[in-house]
C-alpha cells in the first residue's frame, strides 16, 4: 500500500502552503505523518534540519509536538464531548509546562481571545455541544496555538463548516500567519480557499506531488494536466463555453503496488506512449513552478529524446 510516497516539500515560517488533491490522494496521510499520528515507513521529516521521523522517546516526541500542532477536519469530533473548553486549552499548557501553575487560567482566556471567542471566561466554562461548528473550530485552533508552535497542520479545517463561517476561519489563519509567523500546511480540496490564503500550492494525485509552485502561478497557469482538469472542474458562472480540457474516462491509479509510469496516465488527455512506461520526475518547468509530466514539463533528458524523434 502506497498511500503517499516521494513527497518532498518545505514549510517556511510566515507562509501558508496549501496541499490540494482529490479524496484518497494522500493529503491527509501527509498531514497526519507530520503530526506524528502515523509513523512513516520510509523518509525523513526534518525540523530545523533535524530528522524527527524516528523520534520515539517521549521527551523527543513532546519537544516535537510543542513545535508542530494540528487542526482536525471535523470540529464535532475533535473536541472531547465530556470536557469543558477550559480543559481542552489547559491540558497542552500543563503537559508542555508553558505557563506557571497560576497562569493557566489567564493564558486560556488569552487564547480564546486570540481566536475571537469573547467573552473568554464564558466560553471556557462551556462544553463542546454548546458551541457551533465555527466556534468549535476556533477552539481547536486555540488548542493548537496553546503551545506556541512553529508549524500548524490544518487538515481541511473548513470543509465541515457552513459556507458563511469558512471565510472567518480562513481570515483567522491569515491573521495568525502574520502575527505569529506560523508555517501553515493547509490541506484542502477547495481550490478557491487555497487561492485565497495560500502562498505556495502543492497538488497531490495518487500519493505523489504532481505539481508545486507559487499559488498564483499554479492556479493561473497550471502545468500538469491533472491540475488543469481540477481547475476546469470548478464551476465558474462567468465562463459559458465548455472547458478546453476534458478527462478520459479512466480509473484512478492503484495505490496498492502502483504500476510503473505516470499515475495519471489512465485519465490523462495529453498522454503519449512514454507515460505508461516511465514515472515522470518533478521538473522545474518555469521559475518556481514544477510538475511531474512528460508532456508539459519534460525533463532535460526527455527533451533530448523528443528532439531526436523530431529530427528523424
Amino acid at each position: 500500500m502506497h498511500a503517499a510516497d516521494d513527497v518532498t516539500f518545505v514549510l517556511r515560517p510566515g507562509t501558508i502552503t496549501a496541499l490540494v488533491g482529490e479524496s484518497g490522494s494522500g493529503k491527509s496521510t501527509v498531514a497526519r505523518l507530520l503530526a506524528r499520528l502515523y509513523q512513516p515507513t520510509a523518509g525523513q521529516v526534518l525540523f530545523d534540519g533535524v530528522d524527527v521521523a524516528g523520534a520515539r522517546r517521549r521527551r523527543d516526541l513532546l519537544r516535537y509536538r510543542s513545535q508542530v500542532q494540528m487542526i482536525f477536519q471535523d470540529p464535532f469530533g475533535s473536541l472531547n464531548p465530556v470536557k469543558t473548553i477550559r480543559h481542552h486549552l489547559a491540558r497542552p499548557l500543563r503537559i508542555h509546562g508553558r505557563v506557571e501553575r497560576g497562569g493557566v487560567e489567564a493564558r486560556v482566556q488569552e487564547l480564546l481571545e486570540t481566536v475571537g471567542l469573547v467573552p473568554a471566561e464564558k466560553y471556557a466554562a462551556k462544553f463542546p455541544h454548546e458551541l457551533s461548528g465555527g466556534q468549535r473550530q476556533r477552539v481547536a485552533i486555540a488548542r493548537a496555538l496553546a503551545v506556541e508552535p512553529a508549524v500548524l497542520v490544518a487538515d481541511e479545517p473548513t470543509s465541515m463548516l457552513d459556507v458563511s463561517i469558512r471565510v472567518g476561519i480562513l481570515n483567522l489563519m491569515l491573521d495568525l500567519k502574520e502575527r505569529e509567523r506560523l508555517a501553515f500546511l493547509y490541506v484542502t480540496h477547495d481550490l478557491a480557499s487555497a487561492r485565497y490564503v495560500a502562498d505556495t500550492v502543492l497538488v497531490m494525485y495518487a500519493g505523489q506531488i504532481v505539481e508545486q509552485g507559487a499559488a498564483e502561478q499554479v492556479l493561473q497557469r497550471p502545468l500538469h494536466p491533472y491540475t488543469q482538469l481540477l481547475l476546469a472542474s470548478v464551476p465558474d458562472p462567468a465562463v459559458t463555453e465548455r472547458a478546453p480540457i476534458t478527462a478520459r474516462k479512466g480509473l484512478a491509479a492503484a495505490a496498492v503496488d502502483p504500476p510503473p509510469g505516470c499515475r495519471f496516465v489512465e485519465r490523462c488527455p495529453l498522454r503519449i506512449p512514454v507515460c505508461s512506461e516511465r514515472t515522470p520526475e518533478l521538473v522545474e518547468a518555469s521559475p518556481g513552478q514544477s510538475a511531474r509530466c512528460h508532456v508539459t514539463a519534460p525533463s532535460p533528458a526527455r527533451r533530448e529524446d523528443l528532439h531526436v524523434e523530431h529530427v528523424q
Binding site: 503530526a35 465530556v82 469573547v118 462551556k126 465555527g134 488548542r143 471565510v167
Partner: protein, 312 residues
Amino acid sequence: MSQLQPTVGDVEIVPLSVAAASGPSRRRLPGWLSLLLANPKSRVGLGLVGFMVIVALISPLISVSHPTDFNLLAARQAPSWHHLFGTTDQGSDIFSQVVLGARRSLILGAASALLATVLATVLGILAAYSGGIIDEVVNFLTNVFLVIPTIPLLIVISSYLKARGMTTMILVLGLTLWSFEARILRGQALSLKNRDFVQAAKVAGESTWRIVFGELMPNMISRIAAAFVLVFYVALLVDAGLEFLGLGDNTHVSWGMTLYWAQTNSAVLQGEWWPFFFPGLALVLTVVGLVFLLAGIDEVSNPRLRNLRRSK
C-alpha cells in the same frame, strides 16, 4: 489582508448560546442522580435497591434476635407477630436472618461487581486503545473466560478452596465475571479511539494512560455504570446459587445460606414455605431493582431515548 479583526458571523450568536448553555450546565452538576430519578424505570430500581441498602444498614437495630439462636421450643413456626417471617428447624428467627443477610449479600455483590468492573474497564479500554500484542493477549484471556461456564467453574473452585470466607467469594466472583463486560467495553472503546478528539489529545502530547483514563473513560461512564449493576446482580444470583448448593461460607448468615438450610432440612416437604419464600423474595426484589436500574441507565445514557422523552 493582515490585521483582520477575528470577528465573524459565528461569534455574533454568543448571547443566544450563553443563555441556552447556562441551563443544561447547571442541571449537569447534580448530574447523574437527577437524571436517574427523572426516569421511571431507574426510579423504581433506585427505590428497591435503596430500600435494601437501608435495611442492610439498620439490620442490627431491627433484627429481633441473633439470627442463629437455637431454640427448639420455637422451631418450625409459621409467620406470626412474634416471628414475622417464621422460624427455621432450629428455631432461628428468619426475619433476622433475612435482614442481616441483606448486609452480606449486598456487600458481596457490590464488592465483586467493583472488582469485575475495574478489571473489565482497565483491560477492555487498554486493549482497544493499545491494539497489537496487548489487545491479542487481553482478547485471548477474555475469550477463555467467556468460554468457561461461570457456575461450574465456581463450583469447582469453591469445592477445592479450603477458606470459603467472604473475601474468597468476592475474589472468585470478581475474577470470573469480568469477561463479558470487558468485551463490551473494548467494543465501545474501539469505536471511540479513532475519534478525532483522541488523535487531538495525542497531538497535544497526552500520555497513553492519560488518554485512556482521562479522555476515553469519561465518555464511557454510563456503560461502565451499567456494567457494575449487571455484574452486581449476576454476582448476587451466583452467590445465592452457590450457597444454596452448600458451597458457600456456612459460618455466616446470608440469603443463600437460609435457602440452603431450608433445603437440607427439607422444609417444603413438611409444609414450611416461609424459609424459602422470604429470603427468595428479598433476593428477587434486589435483583429486579438492579435490573430496573440497569434499564434506566440504558435509557438515560442513550441520547436518542433521552431526546424522545424531552420532546414529549
